[in-house]
């Protein structure tokens, strides 16, 4: 191969890299703008809605909150109390104790006066069998609570058991330690009920990070910015991804994932597609893709919606080890789901799903870390060969960095103009500082975790969920 061809190839590679970066940046800008529009419109439409009406209505549709629990005994009684105090009128709470090895069940039995009852389960989806059985309370104040003790099968399996047990029209699948605000259910169910032309089949909620916020007796008392860099950086990341990303995808009807921490589904459809997939670690994304695929194939006019209101607060990893493990799992989940459903890629039969969402996720989410690593290695080679044009490198690095900061500031702005959750003094400054630091403090670990995720996926089949040590949600300063 002569030098000209080699140079030619290298040029092409350079242009490909450049093109990729350019497309990525443009897509972020476009998504941010669409998100802004969508959020403002949501705000206007809902600013004078009376959510109280549905609370006293007989016509309010039934909702089941399904919360799988594994070894959550530290906080489970408080978490359940919080779930039971929701202001919606027609709902029940199904706690699925997924073969916990601790005393979660005993604690619940004691706190809520539970007794074992004979409950006939409609096995629409096959799951691991019951262990100690189904429990309900003898105290009418806790009538909404059902506790199911079953053999361990994983989160997806537990959710499926919840689906089998529920008699409601809609199910809200949540993480048991997720703090749901009192009006979360009526806000989440509204898109389903407002729909006229398109059938809404699932809605997702924004997840807010509760670290360092004060939660007392299951109620969010005080919102604080956490102290550790890693926690603060995740807050920024979540703000960007939810306020600048998912709102846009909702508008484009291209959402591929609803957070496993809080999502609401039309139960009938969830069961029709066979419930959650127990063989993947990305079950929250997988079920959305499968539902969408199913409905595209049936040619139904449907929508997956998103609510920007902060309705669910949860604990994020506060040390790098657990963080990396989490992101590693997310990476493997994404790869698994994209591979499982590769038939829809670029397939016009699947419209937006196949032509827009899937390709975008594939190219800019799944492959981004890979391309970045290749880029870094290539850059390393160039340094070694002394071939770097430092003028270019400097100029582009700075541009890229500025762009990142701008995007983060945009997210902070959106947040201030809409929900303004972080009211305390100096928080603004802290958020700005973290925008400057995030590319150094969080991103490298995200990248590392993604690489490990790729390696683990292809070479280490034994990994599954990993432990997230419960630290207790929101320490109270008494």
């Amino acid at each position: 191969m002569n030098t000209t061809t080699l140079n030619g190839i290298i040029q092409v590679i350079h242009y490909l890299f450049f093109g990729y970066a350019f497309l990525a940046i443009s897509s972020y800008i476009i998504l941010s703008i669409i998100s802004a529009f969508e959020t403002i419109e949501y705000f206007k439409k809902n600013s004078f809605v009376n959510y109280k009406k549905i609370l006293s209505s007989d016509a309010a549709p039934s909702i089941s909150i399904i919360a799988p629990a594994y070894n959550e005994s530290l906080n489970i009684v408080e978490n359940v109390r919080s779930l039971l105090s929701n202001h919606y009128v027609n709902y029940d709470v199904i706690i699925v104790n997924d073969g916990s090895k601790d005393n979660s069940l005993e604690k619940l039995i004691e706190a809520y006066d539970l007794v074992n009852i004979d409950y006939l389960i409609n096995q629409q989806i096959s799951t691991q069998p019951l262990r100690k059985g189904v429990y309900k309370s003898t105290n009418p104040a806790f009538e909404k609570l059902i506790v199911v003790d079953k053999e361990n099968g994983g989160k997806a399996d537990a959710l499926n058991m919840g689906l089998n047990i529920s008699n409601s029209r809609y199910v809200a699948c949540i993480d048991v330690d997720c703090l749901l605000l009192e009006d979360a259910l009526q806000k989440m169910v509204k898109p389903f009920l407002e729909a006229t032309e398109k059938k809404v089949v699932a809605t997702g909620g924004v997840i807010r990070i509760a670290n360092s916020s004060i939660i007392k007796d299951g109620k969010l008392m005080d919102v604080n910015l956490p102290t550790k860099l890693i926690e603060k950086a995740q807050i920024l990341e979540y703000l960007r991804s939810f306020l600048l990303g998912r709102m846009a995808w909702s508008r484009l009807n291209g959402l591929l994932v609803i957070s496993g921490a809080f999502g609401m589904f039309d139960k009938k459809i969830a069961i029709e597609v066979g419930g959650y997939d127990t063989s993947t670690v990305g079950e929250d994304m997988e079920i959305i893709v499968r539902i969408r695929r199913y409905l595209e194939e049936k040619k139904v006019n449907y929508k997956v919606a998103y609510i920007p209101d902060p309705l669910c607060w949860t604990e994020a990893p506060d040390n790098y080890k657990i963080f990396i493990s989490q992101r590693n799992r997310w990476t493997r989940g994404t790869i698994e789901v994209l591979r499982k459903h590769r038939k829809i890629a670029f397939n016009p039969n699947y419209r937006n799903l196949g032509l827009l969402s899937y390709p975008y996720w594939l190219i800019f989410e799944r492959f981004a870390p890979v391309i970045e690593v290749i880029g870094i290695i290539y850059f390393g080679i160039l340094i070694a060969l002394n071939e770097v044009k430092w003028d270019y490198a400097l100029a582009f690095f700075i541009l890229a960095y500025l762009f990142t900061i701008l995007l983060s500031l945009g997210a902070i702005f959106s947040e201030e103009l809409t929900y303004h959750q972080y009211k305390k003094k100096k928080t603004g400054l802290k958020l700005i500082i973290i925008s400057l630091l995030e590319p150094f403090v969080l991103h490298p670990f995200v990248l590392y975790a993604a690489v490990r995720g790729n390696l683990d996926y292809f070479f280490n089949k034994k990994k599954k969920w990993g432990e997230m040590t419960r630290k207790g949600l929101g320490k109270v300063n008494n």
């Binding site: 004078f48 009406k53 209505s57 729909a195 003028d391 100029a395 702005f413 009211k423």
Partner: protein
């Protein structure tokens, strides 16, 4: 200015594209700086606003309550009221204040009935508050119009009828909905007349809100819903069905049974729900005869209906379904069979092997 020169020289010797990049970077930096400054301003103003809001809320609360509690004596009462109205008329020229005053008034008005509620209503009508709402009706912006209508609804301003009614076909759905709520909130069933000519879809959320408004009625005149049950607009039919359930419209039973021929499955399902609520024996015949023609979902609903109105004469039909593939139908059939004919049911127990799913049998036996 050494540094200045160095930078300038460096810049000038750069290739064109890099110069562009640097210019872009400088531009972005400026935006970043502007953002940062604006953020600070925004946050502190939001903080101040919140403090002010709390203070104003307390102030207006105390003002309102002291007025409400000092008006006991005759003449003095109307003087007091005029005084109060004068005070707020001045304050409400400021949007911020007006919002809080209205909120405070509504916080009480929505929870309280009787004398005090009438007082609050009176204050609203006598003060300049309502003119602001009227102004909003004239706005170009749909959001303002909707808010104006909502306020007039909350304070039950009847004289606004003519102005609001003409907005009933306003292109934006949110406005249409507020008009509908106004009509129903103030004029109850009379206000529902718009259903007869409604072309757009009433979403389930809208229907729930309308039904809730209807619930709070002193005068329970029962509406005539037959026309709506046969409307071409499916959402109007659904709404009428909900009314049929809410007001126990037995007189419409014939129409309801007719509706089982409707092409929309959702409607047929809702009809079965209404029939279940009304416990209409007459419906049994039709539903059982046409059973096989219905979808599975409807069949399940029919069995739920049957559980309320079954008679021994239904035993044959019920027995046909004790081995149904559908879990809920099977459970329902077995429960009813046990009730009608315990002997036949007990015989089933001796031959459990015939049952693919003996769990169901066991459960019905034990419960």
């Amino acid at each position: 200015m050494e540094i200045h020169k160095i930078i300038q020289n460096y810049f000038q010797q750069l290739p064109f594209e890099l110069q562009l990049v640097w210019i872009l970077s400088v531009f972005l930096s400026l935006i970043v700086v502007i953002f940062v400054v604006y953020l600070k301003i925004l946050r502190s103003s939001l903080r101040k606003e919140e403090v002010l809001q709390e203070e104003s809320k307390k102030r207006y609360e105390t003002l309102l309550l002291s007025f409400l509690f000092n008006e006991s004596e005759g003449d003095n009462a109307s003087n007091q009221e005029i005084e109060f109205i004068n005070i707020i008329n001045i304050e409400i020229n400021d949007n911020f204040n007006r919002k809080i005053i209205i909120e405070t008034l509504l916080k009480l008005k929505n929870e309280i009935s009787g004398e005090i509620e009438k007082n609050i209503q009176h204050i609203y009508l006598q003060s300049n508050l309502k003119s602001f709402a009227y102004q909003q009706l004239e706005s170009e912006n749909w959001y303002e119009i909707a808010k104006g209508i909502k306020e007039l609804t909350q304070f039950k301003v009847e004289e606004a009828y003519s102005q609001i009614k003409i907005l009933i076909n306003y292109p934006k759905k949110e406005v249409q909905k507020e008009v509908q709520l106004y009509l129903v909130s103030l004029f109850h069933f009379e206000g529902l007349k718009f259903l007869s000519s409604l072309e757009s879809d009433l979403s389930e959320w809208d229907q729930i809100e309308l039904l809730e408004e209807l619930k709070h009625l002193e005068n329970q005149e029962i509406p005539e819903i037959t026309d709506w049950l046969i409307s071409k607009n499916d959402s109007v039919v659904m709404f009428a069905l909900k009314l049929a359930k809410m007001y126990n419209k037995y007189e419409n039973v014939d129409t309801l049974i007719q509706l089982m021929n409707h092409e929309n499955q959702k409607i047929r399902l809702q009809v079965i729900l209404v029939l279940t609520h009304l416990q209409v024996l007459d419906a049994k015949g039709v539903l059982i005869n046409n059973f096989k023609s219905y979808s599975e979902e409807e069949q399940v609903a029919i069995f739920k209906l049957l559980e309320n109105i079954f008679e021994p004469s239904d035993e044959t039909f019920i027995t046909e379904h004790i081995h149904s593939n559908n879990f809920e139908i099977q459970l329902s059939a077995l429960k009813m069979l046990k009730s009608i004919n315990n002997n036949t049911f007990s015989q089933l127990l001796t031959n459990k092997k015939a049952f693919e799913n003996s769990r169901v049998l066991n459960f019905v036996q034990n419960n």
